[in-house]
Symmetry: C4
Subunit: 239 residues, 4 copies
């Protein structure tokens, strides 16, 4: 049996589940994981359940083949391969969110590129790739990332980026910590809303590549600030 | 007097009323019914009242002719024929929702087809019919489904679909259980919002027919997950 | 000193203030009045204050010249002439709301006609007039209805309609009761939101004149239903 | 050590932080300051923290060079130069808000001018300037106002206006009091939402210059009314 993860990490993962629901990134579906802090070949994720109801005792450990290691034999999400294959392909990634975050969906199905409209979303960088499951699994899937091969195809599509859209499905966001990945998921949704609005007004002046990088680096120094607020808002809402 | 329905079914129907209000599908109007679990020729529905205030004691039984069977002689909604005629025409249907769910209204009045933009709304399938009351009752009705003939015309327009729009009025959604019909009503509204947004961005790549079917089948295995969340949110909101 | 108004009427007026704030029709500004139930030459309205904070002791009486009759010498809103002149011109009107209800503003400044998109807003009828204060008071007013002459011009623009828009300012809604005028104000805002959305999708099939009339008559029989819900929501929100 | 500021002013500043978060102008970022009531060369602002969590003990004093005067040696926001340089350039300004208020962002990146669509936003006047940081600091900044030179450039761009947009970043709003600047920030966001909606409907009839001025003067006499409501709403929400 692997070592236990840090209780503080598990606490943050539970809070992150509630924050993401409360801020409108997750609804009854979607999931967030974090790489185990003592076992880099494992990650922590809730058992298969609604993220808004997750508590510390619901967190299970999963390895990079997608096998759950749980003394109670519980299962996690069908789409755990999103997480396992990204952790395998990207040693820099410590946390992963998969959501159906609503404002992002239209960008995945129309070919419009999601780009950083303001400094809060500099992490979007120059390129937000779009994953098309039809290229890997044909025209009649249920769109879920159900196995390692699909997880690998998605990880390949993500490449070195922070965010990848999934056509007709949602998106995946990665980060070097729970706080960073939550920040990115919330501002990916926000950027989508603002860009969609601005596109109707005229030509948009997006961040330059240099601005996107500098703003992203700067925001990484302030991740604790919104985290405290989102945490408090989730509590105020009753989570 | 017919047998009593299962108390658990009545409880779910009460919760469903509150969930649909809390998630923005119903306001002061609209209704949900479920087929009686022991008497397939009857269905359960609230007496004529605002759905957000419905309690177990407000549920009455109605037959497929639209006659209420209630020892206290209470009435139900004028538009009970939406329910009675769909239950008559569709033995597979166990639950029906009629709402004025806002994002769907524009699709009913502009000729734009509502289609599945992502896997959550695969149940929309290839065809969401639009019911035009003028074809049955002329140019000067109050748009309500006030009698059996109008209920039959609506059921005919629905055909084998999961959802039918009603021009200048709202929509009707059917399912094999309370949980499924609530899921479908909430994601019909969500799909309408997203499709409306995406239509302004460009040509939309909708789910293929195979994807819609596979995604719909898959979602039917997970109906309990969002149901628990919606239930909890309704409680958190004070229902 | 005039007779006291019915305490039940005053209670409803207080509740209506809170409901209109809670449903997003009023913010810190705007007002609702009701004609005195025993003195048709007077109406009841809050003293000059934010509608969300109004209590029964804040209600004052005002006559059709805009003079407040209050033993404590309190003032009401500068724009009381909206109310006084409509009550004078329209003996059928028992309640008046003036708001800056947001979705309606764009219709007042672009020449787009607000029309009934669904049966809930049949009361909009064939014609929602737009009041242009420049025709009465020139190009440099603060847009407020500050005196009898402006109140008369607005009442004339309203004519026999249920709603009039005020360019660059807001709108006024009238009804035969508090419940009806609240219903109309809330669904005027709702109709504006839906019509604005639908206009981007294509040509809209609005209610026919006969449908608008029939639907409006029908809704007038069910005004108590949403009223109870809005009342409860305002209480749940803490008003 | 400078004199202490009035406790009432500090209380209002704390409340203003919460109101701006609760009304959607600030999120985890952004800040509001007020000029010290006894030391015009100082201003009061929270230490570097999320505005929704600010309490009276978090307020520090800062001078017009951007140096914090705090017995505990605490720091304030990196972007304090927004405040210090505007206070220096504009003796009439007593309060400043910097936000990423969402509906305003699209106007900063598309060249569309923000203009007063209704009387509540007359303070926008004829001209809302847009600050382009590239003109001062090149193509690869993180967009923050990190030093006096950038603060001066922003203040120069603001000129005598009430609001300036900051491309790809947010906006700055100034006023003669906390209540006025909060009013302006909230209605700047509201105006952006309405103008964006109206632009899709057709040509907009904006307020004339005379109307904008008269409406702005009029609103300045009623600043206490919405302030009480926003304060109460922030308390109802749990701040």
């Amino acid at each position: 049996m692997p070592q236990a993860a840090s209780p503080a990490l598990i606490d943050d993962l539970v809070v992150a589940n509630h924050v993401l629901v409360n801020e409108g990134v997750l609804d009854g579906f979607g999931h967030i994981s974090v790489r185990h802090d003592r076992e880099p070949g494992l990650f922590l994720i809730a058992r298969s359940m609604a993220p808004g109801l997750v508590q510390a005792e619901d967190i299970v450990m999963c390895d990079l083949d997608g096998t759950v290691h749980d003394s109670q034999g519980r299962k996690t999400y069908v789409e755990r391969f999103i997480h396992s294959e990204i952790y395998r392909a990207r040693p820099d990634v410590m946390a992963v969110i998969h959501s159906h975050s609503p404002a992002v969906i239209p960008f995945g199905v129309t070919g419009q590129r999601l780009r950083p409209i303001c400094h809060m979303s500099g992490f979007l960088g120059a390129q937000v790739p779009v994953f098309e499951i039809r290229h890997s699994a044909g025209e009649a899937t249920d769109l879920l990332i159900r196995n390692q091969a699909l997880g690998q195809a998605l990880a390949q599509s993500l490449g070195g980026a922070a965010v990848a859209l999934m056509r007709g499905h949602g998106n995946v966001v990665v980060g070097f910590s729970i706080q960073q990945v939550v920040f990115r998921a919330i501002y990916t949704e926000g950027n989508a809303r603002l860009q969609s609005e601005a596109m109707r007004m005229g030509e948009i002046e997006f961040l330059s590549p240099g601005e996107a990088q500098a703003a992203s680096d700067m925001n990484d120094e302030h991740l604790g600030r919104p985290w405290e607020v989102w945490k408090r808002r989730a509590k105020m809402a009753g989570y």
